[in-house]
């Protein structure tokens, strides 16, 4: 097989993203996050493109034999070459039998990219798809959408005059997104208004926050990570600094329903709590291990820590929880985690579609495989439907009780005592 270098620089640079992938369903940001969120780390690597007209593997002849027969005999119209090519790529990847190896078409790829980068040019609203149109769920505060008076429940029927009926959620979202500073015109139907409203907005950079935080009690800080994106570590460091200045002496790190994200972000996040040693090992197809060590300069390497996990805690989130657990840096509370221990490389192809390929597995610092196994919390606390209905959070309560028990003085109003010693250990 011959390889040639493509001259076009753009083609030469394929984005390589290592990712710990998990598929998360979430709701979506106007114009913006995708339904499928795998988890990742972005790195860019040079790569050559294989030239197709060079020799094909001999096993592939049967493909053309089959397709030529179809062209000759099939009774109905044939799909265009792109559809056929995409279908062939999907079929080839499916033959690998790995659900984490798959193909993403260009529109979805753009959304995926924005998800990883954590920012995009848009109007700043969360939407959902209903009856073929986008319905605004919430305009973000101080966003172009809210300043233009867009309200929850508004139905976006057209973007720049193009009716969006029949488009997918991602396709519609991509029409709304665009370069920062560019105008976009939305045609909106609002209950109670007979005529559609025409609204002009100027796109701004919209950041997708991945960290929310606050003080739970006088000295207990709470940080929730919803995703491991390109800006997560920065947001986390800001949150930790603020919490410490507000007097937090212990921390709860909430990783529940966090589907993962970039491996690099996982290492950075774990490094805020672990000052030295290995965060994870990555094992490739040949069985070689690569260690990812903790980075210096963590802001909370000594602070007592409780980590909340559940069945929606996956991949990059499991890396962090697994490292904190193996280093005995935190108590893990909640439910067994998802068990996504394989790493995907996201490679962008020359037409800006991408494929996710499983390229490695990751292991915790003590060599535990996570794939298919998950992490078992030190303290298993289920969350029942009854708890949800009554707005109770026994997992959070357990973390608070644990951290209070570490405080050097008694705290009034302690809830039920939690017996930490009776819990399971190990993964």
């Amino acid at each position: 097989m011959s390889r040639i270098r493509i001259k076009d620089k753009k083609l030469q640079r394929l984005t390589l993203i290592l990712l710990v992938s998990i598929v998360a369903a979430a709701s979506y940001l106007a114009g913006f996050a995708s339904q499928v969120i795998p988890a990742y780390v972005g790195e860019v690597e040079e790569s050559e493109i294989f030239h197709p007209t060079a020799e094909e593997p001999p096993e592939f002849g049967v493909y053309w034999e089959a397709w030529n027969l179809v062209e000759e005999n099939f009774y109905a119209e044939l799909p265009d070459a792109q559809v056929q090519t995409y279908g062939s790529i999907r079929g080839m990847l499916a033959a690998l039998g790995d659900p984490n190896t798959f193909f993403i078409e260009p529109p979805d790829r753009q959304i995926e990219k924005a998800q990883f980068q954590g920012r995009y040019g848009g109007i700043g609203a969360e939407y959902t798809m209903r009856n073929g149109y986008l319905v605004v769920v919430t305009p973000f505060p101080d966003s172009p959408a809210s300043r233009a008076g867009i309200r929850p429940g508004d139905i976006i029927v057209a973007v720049d005059g193009t009716d969006i009926f029949g488009l997918s959620q991602n396709e519609a979202a991509l029409l709304i997104r665009g370069p920062v500073g560019m105008k976009v015109e939305l045609t909106i139907r609002r209950e109670g208004e007979l005529e559609p409203l025409i609204v002009q907005l100027t796109r701004e950079e919209i950041e997708l926050p991945t960290v929310t935080w606050g003080l739970k009690e006088e000295e207990i800080g709470y940080v929730k990570l919803s995703f491991f994106g390109g800006r997560t570590n920065e947001e986390l460091r800001h949150a930790l600094t603020e919490l410490q200045s507000q007097g937090a002496t212990s921390l709860i790190l909430d990783l529940r329903n966090n589907p993962g994200g970039l491996i690099g972000a996982a290492v950075d996040v774990a490094s805020q709590f672990i000052d030295t040693g290995v965060i994870l090992y990555q094992r490739d197809a040949q069985g070689n291990d690569q260690a990812f060590p903790a980075k210096k300069g963590g802001l909370a390497t000594e602070t007592p820590l409780a980590v909340l996990v559940n069945g929606g805690t996956a991949s990059a989130a499991e890396i962090v929880a697994g490292a904190l657990s193996d280093h005995q840096r935190a108590v893990i509370i909640g439910e067994k985690t998802f068990g996504k221990g394989s790493i995907q490389t996201v490679r962008e192809l020359s037409d800006h579609s991408s494929i996710h390929v499983t390229t490695a597995h990751w292991l915790t610092p003590q060599d535990h495989e996570i794939e298919g196994a998950g992490l078992t919390p030190d303290l298993e606390v289920p969350l029942t439907q009854e708890d949800i209905d009554n707005q109770r959070d026994p997992q959070l309560d357990g973390a608070l009780a644990y951290l209070r028990s570490l405080l050097p003085y008694p705290v009034s109003g302690v809830l039920q005592p939690v017996n930490i010693m009776s819990t399971k250990r190990g993964i």
Partner: protein, 397 residues
């Protein structure tokens, strides 16, 4: 009419195959015409080369980076074929692995080596025995209709497609197969050991009912069907029956040639079926000389009557040659051609739709019987057959 030269060969060996294929023989809902061209090109069509670069980018990435080893290039190529065919959005156009080709070939001849039972995959994805053939190994080993085959030689069958499951059960005569069976009313699954034998499917069963009604049940349209039908008709007609019942219930189809031949026995003249495709325009006409073109006729059909069965029943209904009693049929109105590829795998391609003599396209619609009668679970449990009863009444009136 046909773009003749090309099509003459094309329709010589036209075959139906089954949707609910059977362990024993087969059936289902499509029609296969044999390929005409001998030469097969393995060169990419020039129009696709440019776009297909993307495929090779993806291939290369997989080859270099995929975690599991080794990577089987042949499987990747098969996957690519499946993916490409899926873009045609036609469930009857599909790729066939070399192992499955063998099963399909056996099905069309009506003979194979196995245990002698009809099976299907039920709605829950289990392999279920539809009927053990009387006196054959499955029957002798005590298998019953409704038994679920959970495992074959220790391999779980749930989730397999029918052909995969069948290929596990079939094997050289004299060898043993172990089945793990779950039967209603018995708590624990149990093992059954069966020695495979040569199985010949009964393509046709016939008898005289009440001394005056000829009854013929056609199980499938394989290559033996035309000859066996002729023999049955000659035998029955010699007894001067008042009428005939042709039972096509649960007959999933078979060869197109068999369908035309069977139709020809009952229809004196006119078109039996027409095919229309991209380059295909072919009318199949009755040839005359049919053995039963006048005698009062009832055709029994149900939701298991497909393709070839529908061709015969549709023609009989359109010409008013007889009446249809039973339930709405499957609705399989397309014709496929099956090609063998150079590495022994195969490809089935939809080449045309077929139409009844009055121009009906039954795809997705099926045939609606002139008299609709259903068989209830209670009927089944008490061995009643109201469809057959009604057919007899109708002919005796």
């Amino acid at each position: 009419m046909a773009k003749a030269a090309k099509l003459a060969g094309l329709t010589l060996l036209t075959v139906f195959i089954v949707a609910t294929s059977y362990l024993a023989g087969s059936a289902a809902g499509f029609i296969l015409a044999s390929p005409v061209m001998a030469e097969k090109s393995i060169a990419p069509p020039p129009a696709l080369e440019e776009e297909f670069r993307l495929f090779w980018e993806a291939w290369r990435i997989v080859e270099n980076e995929f975690y599991q080893r080794p990577i089987d290039s042949k499987e990747l190529a098969y996957g690519a074929i499946r993916g490409a065919l899926s873009t045609l959005e036609d469930e009857n156009t599909f790729f066939i692995t070399p192992e499955r080709i063998a099963i399909i070939r056996e099905d069309l001849t009506g003979t194979f080596e196995g245990i002698g039972a009809l099976v299907k995959i039920n709605e829950d994805g289990y392999l279920v025995i539809v009927e053990p053939l009387a006196g054959r190994p499955a029957d002798l080993a005590g298998l019953k209709a409704g038994d679920l085959v959970l495992e074959v030689d220790g391999v779980e069958t749930r989730g397999m497609n029918l052909v995969e499951a069948i290929s596990l059960i079939r094997g050289p005569k004299g060898t043993t197969v172990h089945l793990t069976i779950r039967r209603q009313g018995i708590l624990e699954p149990f093992e059954v050991e069966i020695i495979r034998q040569r199985i010949e499917l009964r393509t046709i069963e016939y008898r005289l009912l009440n001394g005056e009604i000829g009854y013929i049940k056609l199980n499938e349209f394989n290559s033996q069907a035309p000859r066996q039908l002729r023999a049955a008709l000659i035998d029955l007609l010699a007894k001067n029956p008042r009428g005939l019942i042709l039972d096509l219930r649960d007959d999933p189809g078979g060869l197109v040639t068999a369908a035309i031949d069977v139709g020809n026995q009952f229809i004196a003249e006119g078109v039996i079926m027409s095919e229309r495709g991209k380059d295909i325009e072919e009318d199949y006409e009755a040839q005359g000389g049919g053995l039963a073109t006048e005698i009062p006729l009832v055709v029994l059909v149900n939701g298991g009557s497909a393709s070839a069965s529908e061709i015969v029943a549709g023609a009989i209904q359109d010409y008013g040659r007889g009446i249809l009693i039973g339930e709405r049929t499957v609705g399989k109105g397309s014709v496929q051609v099956q090609h063998e590829l150079s590495d022994g795998s195969g490809l089935r391609i939809t080449i045309a739709h077929w139409f009844t003599p009055h121009g009906r396209l039954i795809e997705g619609e099926g045939l609606i019987p002139d008299i609709e009668v259903y068989i209830t679970d209670e009927d089944l449990a008490s061995g009643l057959d109201p469809q057959l009863e009604l057919a007899i009444d109708y002919l005796e009136r």
